[in-house]
Amino acid sequence: MQAFAALIDGLIYTRSRDHKVRLIAEYLRDTPDPDRGWALAALAGTLRIATVKSAAIRAMAEERFDPMLFRMSRDYVGDTAETVALMWPDVSTDAMAPTVAEVIDLLNTTSRARAPNVLAELMDRLDANGRYALLKLATGGMRVGISARLAKTAFGQAFGVSVDDIEEVWHALRPPYAELFAWGEGKSERPDPADSAFFRPFMLAHPLEDGSVDLEDFAAEWKWDGIRIQIASTGGETRLFSRGGDEVTAAFPEIAAAFNGIGVVDGELLVRGEVQGGEAASFNALQQRLGRKNVTAAIQAEYPVFVRLYDILFDGAEDLRSQPWSARRERLECFAASLDTVRFDLSAIIEARDFDHLAEIRAAARAAAIEGVMLKRRDAPYLAGRKVGLWYKWKREPLVADCVMMYAQRGSGKRSSFYSDYTFGCWTPDGTLLPVGKAYSGFSDAELKWLDRFVRDNTVARFGPVREVEKSLVLEVAFDAVHESKRHKSGIAMRFPRISRLRRDKPAEEADSIANLRAMIG
């Protein structure tokens, strides 16, 4: 448990992604089974301990500490688990610290009523950092800024295997992943998941920067602004997965229920909008369906979802991924023909004479849910991740606005001594600035140095880590879209804003107004 606690603390304080990966990789290499498997599960978010809820931890604290002292401490620390870990007396230094596996085992085999006692006995055998890791492990929320993807990257780095190879089987395996580690260490073949509905990694696209492609070699289709989704079904079981491989079946039960094919398909989850005449609505509408625990019938009716199919990976048990796109497309058309048309349709191929014609079609596209154009090599197999030269995304031209820098904050990692995160605003009719977005990319290193100096030399006030600056610098901001937002005082929010140019030549009064931005809402 001490090694795991040290890992957790290392991850909390380390800001660089590479360094985080290295810390996890070292831990996975140096720690025996099954501890490292449970740790991997905790980091990747696949560990569930049903017996301990955070209420149990509060109850445990209130039983042992003076309620007033506990409350004062909790208010100061801001986190119940950490407060309890710090206040807990060091009982005995020579007690054997439990292993991660022992902790999981004890907590999983106890009852919810007995769990606080079991937890307390474990606390007595640990130091403050160990107690913190224990409580975080037991309640499930590690909060160390690690995605499942990053945890797998670390596994790959630890054992010299590719993340794609891990992804291919990951979703069919369960903690503590003994077979995965055996494979990593070269002691056995890669696990071969039996016939079950699990996630296969998505094929992703590179942006088409300034180039063009020959439409003889590439097919074009719309890029829809929804959620990329994969549906896997064995017939008996149907599951939905998002980009990172997280299962989202429960959020869209009507899709899983309507899917009557056997195989694995790739598509975009969208909401039908009334204003759009039953066609796909903007991403904003889909957001109403996200993050809901309870998907009621009313919600399902108000925001009807459907999947626009892009590709097919498996038809029945047959793996089609090594076949060229053109062959898969034919199979997909056949496959889709037997699906419910209310919930599924095909992403149409754009017919264009040549690339210039395609550019015209793209420029004329106004549908709310269109994010741009996808270009797919006709002879390309379906490969995990982002491979050069096979798939391109050609987004609609970004929108731009001239905004005024208002606040700045230091970055993280290598940028922690630079003011690199900027909040900018646009003008209201009465001449005040209201924030419209925040950006921390798009500039060169030399520009960053200049911006950092600008912030330091023009600070007018400080609020904790935030500096308010003289409202004099105009930033040209590029963004993909702008939409209504109740959360912002300006009433609007940008999608993917980034700094496109420093307009040192432009007076702040000449920056854009909120009204100008509002006119760009699509």
């Binding site: 002292l69 004062m72 801001g78 986190d79 001594s417």
Partner: protein, 312 residues
């Protein structure tokens, strides 16, 4: 006569040299010789009456004497005796081992005026040896970069250096210009700190694999941009709480404090058992609550001009 007054006064008793206790501009000052030396260094021309530990004088029927507080070089508790009643003002203090200053001496008293900077039960400082070991391990793992430690220029910086030396680290230690004079002053008071090199003006490559110490205010400053891939560490009791460390962008928190932690505060109260305790700066509410639970008579003494947080 005032103790650690925050405004210039006629006659001041000063417990130690930290800026929130020793202000400039008093007409007359009584303090330990070390504290007077520190004030002279910081404010230039300050003079005063030196009061070595154990020494005292009388003013208006009150006997005043100075006793070691174990906080920083020259730090003192002040004992006031009047008509058989004894009042101790601890100033800032700690009970842990510190080779850079005289150890705290418990002084029996009727009234104890105690500090409470870390007066919350979440604050327990781990053994300093563990924190130094953590620091040396991080250095070992980052020989291509350096470790930048934020530490207050008076006390904390010298204690960290002395502890590194005690742990056998004998390479030169790089320091920020703002600490040089204070380090010299410590060395002149028989606190050996080994070889210290000014970091300002050095090439990045020269500091690779090294340990650099700077005041916390310089850490996120442009000054730090000159260092080779620094891991930022901070030596402070506040580092006990993860969120506090993260707020300050600290990658390597070192829980090293020159103040008494919760256990030292409460153990000292139990050891001295004063008939009355006044609690000054810090968490007066929580330590007051603890006194109430232990049937000790206590009250919070809110001092003027003490809103800012202590150096930790």
């Amino acid at each position: 006569m005032w103790i650690d007054p925050s405004r210039p006064v006629e006659r001041a008793l000063v417990t130690h040299g930290h800026a929130d206790h020793a202000r400039s501009g008093h007409k007359a000052v009584w303090a330990t010789p070390e504290t007077l030396a520190i004030m002279a260094l910081r404010y230039g021309t300050e003079t005063g009456t030196p009061m070595p530990y154990g020494d005292g004088f009388e003013a208006g029927g009150v006997k005043i004497s100075f006793h070691p507080a174990g906080h920083v070089l020259g730090s003192a508790q002040i004992l006031l005796e009047y008509a058989g009643e004894r009042v101790i003002v601890t100033g800032d203090y700690k009970r842990r081992f510190d080779s850079t200053c005289a150890a705290f001496e418990p002084v029996p008293c009727d009234v104890l005026i105690t500090e409470a900077t870390f007066g919350l039960p979440v604050f327990t400082h781990p053994p300093i040896e563990d924190e130094i070991a953590k620091l040396l391990a991080a250095r070992e793992a980052n020989v291509d970069g350096c470790i930048l430690i934020g530490a207050y220029a008076l006390g904390k910086a010298q204690r960290v250096i002395a502890e590194l030396r005690r742990a056998g680290y004998d390479a030169p230690i790089y320091i920020h210009g703002a600490m040089q004079k204070m380090c010299d002053l410590y060395a002149a008071h028989n606190v050996p700190l080994g070889e210290l090199i000014l970091a300002t003006g050095l090439a990045k490559a020269e500091m690779k694999g090294g340990i650099v110490i700077a005041p916390p205010s310089a850490m996120n400053d442009r000054w730090a941009q000159r260092l080779p891939d620094p891991i930022t560490a901070m030596a402070s009791g506040w580092m006990r709480v993860r969120q506090r460390a993260r707020q300050r962008n600290v990658e390597l928190p070192l829980v090293i404090s020159d103040h008494a932690d919760w256990n030292e505060l409460t153990d000292t109260l139990l050891e001295l058992r004063p008939s009355e305790t006044w609690i000054t700066h810090g968490r007066t509410d929580a330590l007051g609550r603890w006194c109430e639970l232990h049937q000790l008579k206590a009250r919070a003494l809110d001092l003027v001009g003490r809103e800012e947080e202590d150096e930790g």
